[in-house]
């Protein structure tokens, strides 16, 4: 930190298991990646190359090398996994992870119908190869999953070998955990937390109000994802009670 302030919540240093920030790169150029790492890298635990953007970026190999040199693991968005699966190209996907030497992969079913035992089978298989993040929740805003089912899906995916489970929201933060307005499904979140430890969950929370909600509910060290590169520093200040939204939240509680 650049100067000293009292009563600031403690944050673990990297590699972090909690208080984890997953940022989304949806097509940065190599120099923009360098800028991002230079400005915010200390607060970024993992980077997702959003959905299937890795298919079209013209700089994939170099981009992965830049993140690797900075000690920031990278994974392909779950939509890419689904794009391979729906084309019956799962073996190609496994080879792809090897080719690019990726340490993480996401298993999701946001855009495809996947019987849950099959999804868990994918998690099991990929776990032998990489660390798996699995995502629960549909990108279809009409597909409402009741809380008890979120819990059993999450538990089964952790049992199948997922390192952490991700609560879906899309880039814009308007499905899955959230209403179409972006408002948090608060009852859902609280019920999930009665059964699944908060350390095992990454909440996708691209909007500030969503980040504030989770930090107030769970604390500075909640795991949050889908953070835009230029929102990583702002998020860090919210975690520390140094932005208006959480200014009073941690005072006299530390």
């Amino acid at each position: 930190m650049n100067y000293s302030l009292k009563q600031i919540p403690e944050r673990p240093s990297k590699p972090r298991d909690v208080g984890f920030t997953m940022a989304m790169d949806k097509g940065l150029s190599n120099r923009e990646v360098e800028d991002f790492i230079d400005g915010s890298g200390e607060y970024v635990d993992i980077v997702k190359l959003g959905w299937a953007t890795s298919y079209v970026t013209n700089n994939l190999k170099d981009k992965l090398a830049i993140y690797k040199d900075a000690g920031i693991p990278v994974y392909f968005g779950g939509t890419l996994f689904e794009a391979f699966v729906i084309r019956d190209q799962f073996d190609d996907y496994r080879k792809l992870l090897d080719k690019y030497d990726l340490p993480f992969a996401e298993v999701s079913d946001g855009s495809i119908e996947l019987p849950h035992d099959i999804k868990c089978e994918y998690i099991r298989k990929l776990s032998e190869q990489v660390t798996v993040l699995s995502e629960v929740g549909s990108k279809d805003e009409d597909k409402i999953i009741p809380p008890y089912q979120w819990i059993s899906l999450m538990q089964a995916e952790l049992d199948a070998g997922a390192w952490k489970v991700i609560g879906e929201s899309r880039e814009a933060g308007n499905v899955g955990l959230f209403r179409s307005s972006g408002e948090v499904r608060s009852g859902l979140v609280q019920e999930i937390l009665t059964k699944i430890p908060f350390e095992k969950i990454i909440w996708e929370a691209p909007q500030k109000s969503q980040q504030v909600y989770f930090i107030k509910l769970i604390g500075a060290n909640v795991n949050l994802g889908n953070i835009a590169p230029n929102e990583v520093i702002p998020l860090e200040t919210i975690r520390l009670g140094l932005r208006g939204d959480t200014f009073h939240h941690f005072l006299n509680k530390l």
Copy 2:
């Protein structure tokens, strides 16, 4: 492409006449232009320097050179044309295009009242000097043009020498083709397409939902414009059926 996936819509390579992406630069610095080209240049067919931003950017000559070296043509937004016309400085505008050696120009009447035969006269004159894009639709949200009139305006402007016509939306995507909410005037669009070939139209569609609408209606190779630099890669994935929004659209249809 960085790896191989089946059932991906075919995209023509540059120079493209369809499947054209027009991006908007509203004041990038030179190095930001380099970053933009490095990350997304392959998917950018033409760049508009938004409205009259070229008047104030401190780096115009160098900026134009950087785009030129990358083989990406640049043109000044239509509002600049109108700013010259309303000041009775059209000859200065023609000299300006020559001075900066610009290959394209836009003729529009989004902010000024221009009798349509006069507008077509400007198109005719400028066509002798550069390739002309002409824009139909007002920036004034109270000025509703009925579909049959959009069609006759577009046809007359093509007849006068416009290479393609642009459907107006503003940077924010909330007038012209769109309701103030950003929703597409779908009946208008479909009626236009019964008379004007889709290759001759560039739809300004800055919002994701608008891009998805046009890609689903017309296909991967619709011409789209007013795309923010950091949305060019995401748009390309939508064209290819590799983002949730169009994930199923092209499957089993190719």
Copy 3:
């Protein structure tokens, strides 16, 4: 300017006392700061390091040096002042300003309750050390201050030594001067202007519609703040009547 247009409002050159643009840096990397200055520096009069982002940016010293070399003064957001005050660390705050050799400071009470005579006392003390900007208005959207009170608060803070007063809006532009929708409290603004000279006020106006409102009401040379780095060039065109929104506003009035 890159070319000549008639009937363009005159803008003073730097250092400006009016027509002042305050931009907000909420965590740019050093190279992004260089890009920002290269592209837009000519139109930036002062930069605020948003709220307490300066606590976490890993490049503070270098960042300040880059802005200084470009002749652009920098100050810490008012929330940081408040974070020191509420922790009873005001002396540390004064030392911090010295340590980083900052020429400006902001005194605000957007997130804390501060009796107004105490706030003015802080303004007086800091005025001995730096140039003070003081901010009026709460970040709490339920805290409505009536116009006569805005005026007396502003006047007292100017009397206490503030160089200019800032009308609060947050980064998103939805409290203080604005309704939660972002709409300007127009009666409030106009009543303030009957008593406080416009040169003494910086209106935080991050949204385009808010910038347009103030420019139409007060003129090209109104002081505006909380401008995102990539909106500085667009704002300059609005000031000059070169964007659709103010296209007709200055014509035939100059």
